[in-house]
């Protein structure tokens, strides 16, 4: 369904060009759930935005392809792109509090998606009766959507403003917006990070149900390997704009290959009786504008070898559906 080949997105800055997504390759089948994991600033979000061609100015995609059902999105005209956004590929953002427009009623914001993609126009017929009919149809559909995503008493809440919603409800409303046109791919950019743990679980549940009932493919972006492990069929680990490891979830969790993935796993707290020492990865994410070594993880790596400093690196297929970018393999 989705195939990203050699995607490269850069941001020019005063310090030089920052490569936020560096030769990203990714394939995905319809209905699949992929987890994209990494620390903040590793290029996960930029990759998602690149798919939708929404990289904020002055960033731009310099090379690569994003094939969606065989069509290259990078080459689409702005108008064609607009027809795809929201309709074919929808996105859920990290912070529901700031993602809903504060000045419009929540119901109207959901309806807008239906409206602009003309979802209800087929049933509507011609003006003037059509317009009113369509409005009613759209409203009904919105309420149905709100019900589906678990917003209680949708009739009333249709007319409320975002600030009257709790964080979890806001995220549900955003999911409703994303679902409105029944997209085939849902990009969920840290959809649960800003929410309480119990709400997190509900939202993830909801996403899974959507995946099951509508067959929507989901890319879940998260910095929480635990969430990804629970939710996804396949995990993609990114570091400093590059994919460093990719593989089926169980495999990656049980047998992480890349030192970075290992580090990530070690730094996750777990609820167990036994006391286990948490081991954070030393150091910080390197300055993307100023990478010193070929392997971006070199100076934080516990398994670094002298050759890591200069050897050519690529994402190598190590069998079993697993790929890794490390000289060790």
């Amino acid at each position: 369904m989705l195939e990203i080949k050699g995607l490269r997105t850069v941001f020019p800055t005063s310090k030089g060009e920052v490569v936020a997504a560096k030769d990203v390759d990714l394939t995905m089948e319809p209905g699949q759930i992929i987890g994209l994991v990494g620390e903040s600033g590793c290029g996960k979000s930029v990759t998602m935005l690149s798919i939708l061609r929404l990289v904020p100015h002055p960033g731009r995609i310099v090379s690569g392809q994003v094939l969606f059902f065989g069509e290259d999105l990078v080459k689409k005209s702005p108008l064609e792109m607009r027809r795809i956004r929201g309709k074919e590929i929808a996105m859920i953002f990290q912070d529901p509090m700031t993602t809903l427009n504060p000045v419009f009623k929540v119901g109207e914001q959901i309806r807008e998606s239906l409206r602009i993609h003309g979802i209800m126009s087929e049933q509507a017929g011609s003006w003037p009766w059509g317009a009113r009919y369509r409005l009613q149809a759209e409203r009904d559909k919105v309420i149905q959507l709100m019900e589906e995503v678990g917003i209680p008493s949708p009739q009333a809440r249709y007319h409320e403003y975002p600030h009257q919603f709790s964080g979890g409800m806001q995220q549900r409303a955003l999911i409703a917006i994303a679902l409105a046109c029944e997209p085939r791919l849902l990009l969920a950019d840290e959809p649960t990070t800003a929410l309480d743990v119990t709400i997190q679980a509900q939202i993830l549940d909801l996403l899974r149900r959507i995946n099951e009932t509508h067959g929507t493919g989901i890319i879940l972006v998260t910095h929480d390997l635990g969430v990804a492990a629970e939710f996804c069929e396949e995990i993609v680990v990114m570091y400093a704009g590059q994919i460093v490891e990719r593989g089926p979830t169980d495999e990656v969790i049980q047998r992480p290959l890349h030192p970075y993935t290992r580090g990530l796993l070690r730094s996750i707290p777990r609820i167990t009786r036994e006391k286990r020492k948490l081991e954070p990865i030393p150091g910080v994410v390197p300055d993307l504008a100023n990478l010193k070594y070929n392997c971006a993880f070199y100076d934080r790596c516990d398994a670094a070898l002298p050759k890591c400093e200069h050897d050519e690196l690529e994402l190598r297929d190590v069998g079993g559906g697993r790929l890794v970018r490390c000289v060790l393999y």
């Binding site: 800055t13 005063s14 920052v18 903040s40 600033g41």
Partner: protein, 311 residues
């Protein structure tokens, strides 16, 4: 911000806190300068401002003539490129035959001062009262807010005419008249921002570690609203100079011997039909300065506002 490393070197040593402060200041200033250097418009603004300040300080050396030297035989002479103009007076002469260029150069001194002082007092009073009122609310807020409402509703020029008539013309009276109402705007702005900021987590956090209210206001919240105030203040500097001109229009400006852009613009208004330069060039000098101040102000905001930075 990337300067989390800046403080670490000194953390384990016991040093004179003032010295530390100073060291941090210079280091940060250098750091800021490094960023400013790469910001072309802000740099341009800074350069122009420096040129203005230098020319104001060095006026006696730069100005071709004494700005008060009259020559009644050479009144209203046009600038050199116009018919009848000469290179003796590059920008022409004014109604008393004084060299316009020299007056503009000298005029910068008073105008910059009028703008800075009037704005400075406004910011000082407005921000101080605004932060206290916004943070503590209560009776202080009530009283000052009502008073601010009163002043807002009071037409400025009427007030200014009154003050200048009552106290007589003079530089300090002018500053007083200008800043008497100017502070209200800053008061409102700071108070509003304060109301928003004080509910934020970092304030809670500061309170939790037991910082005093004043410390919270001035070292926690103030830095967060500073850039908003800065932007308004830069705009106000020019505005104050223009207001000075409006007072001059009503015959109540700065003492006439002191060249000031505002009064020069106002003084040339009758001649505007026949000698546009008397009024226009000081105005352009003013516009360019305001433009530069704003370029710098905006550049600083770009640099210091973390929201504009890449993650």
């Amino acid at each position: 911000m990337t300067d989390s490393s800046l403080g670490t070197a000194n953390e384990h040593q016991i040093v004179n806190p003032y010295l530390l402060e100073l060291r941090l200041l210079t280091r940060n200033a250098l750091h800021l300068w490094g960023q400013l250097r790469r910001h072309p418009t802000a740099l341009l603004g800074l350069i122009v401002i420096i040129l203005y300040v230098v020319s104001a300080i060095a006026a006696p050396f730069i100005a071709p003539y004494d700005p008060t030297e009259q020559n009644l035989m050479a009144r209203n002479k046009p600038p050199f490129w116009a018919e009848g103009g000469s290179l003796d007076h590059i920008l022409g002469t004014d109604q008393l035959g004084r060299d316009l260029l020299s007056r503009i150069i000298y005029g910068g001194r008073v105008s910059i001062l009028v703008g800075l002082l009037a704005t400075g007092f406004s910011v000082l009073v407005g921000a101080l009262l605004g932060s206290l009122a916004g943070y503590f609310r209560g009776r202080l807020d009530d009283i000052v807010s009502r008073f601010a409402d009163l002043l807002m509703a009071f037409p400025f020029l009427i007030f200014a005419i009154g003050v200048m008539s009552m106290l007589g013309p003079g530089f300090s009276n002018l500053i007083f008249a200008l800043s008497f109402k100017g502070w209200v705007e800053f008061f409102r702005l700071v108070r509003g921002e304060m109301l928003v900021e004080k509910t934020k987590e970092y304030v809670e956090a500061a309170r939790a570690v037991g910082r005093s209210d004043l410390a919270i206001i001035f070292s926690e919240i103030a830095p967060n609203i500073f850039h908003t105030v800065l932007v308004l203040a830069t705009l106000r500097v020019g505005h104050m100079i223009v207001l000075e001109a409006s007072l001059s229009f009503l015959g109540l400006g700065i003492p006439p011997e002191i060249p000031a852009w505002g009064s020069m613009v106002a003084g040339g208004r009758v001649q505007l039909l026949v000698a546009y330069w008397i009024s226009t060039f000081p105005g352009l000098a003013l516009a360019l300065l305001v433009l530069s101040i704003n370029l710098l102000g905006e550049g600083l905001r770009d640099i210091l506002d973390p929201r504009l930075k890449l993650q």
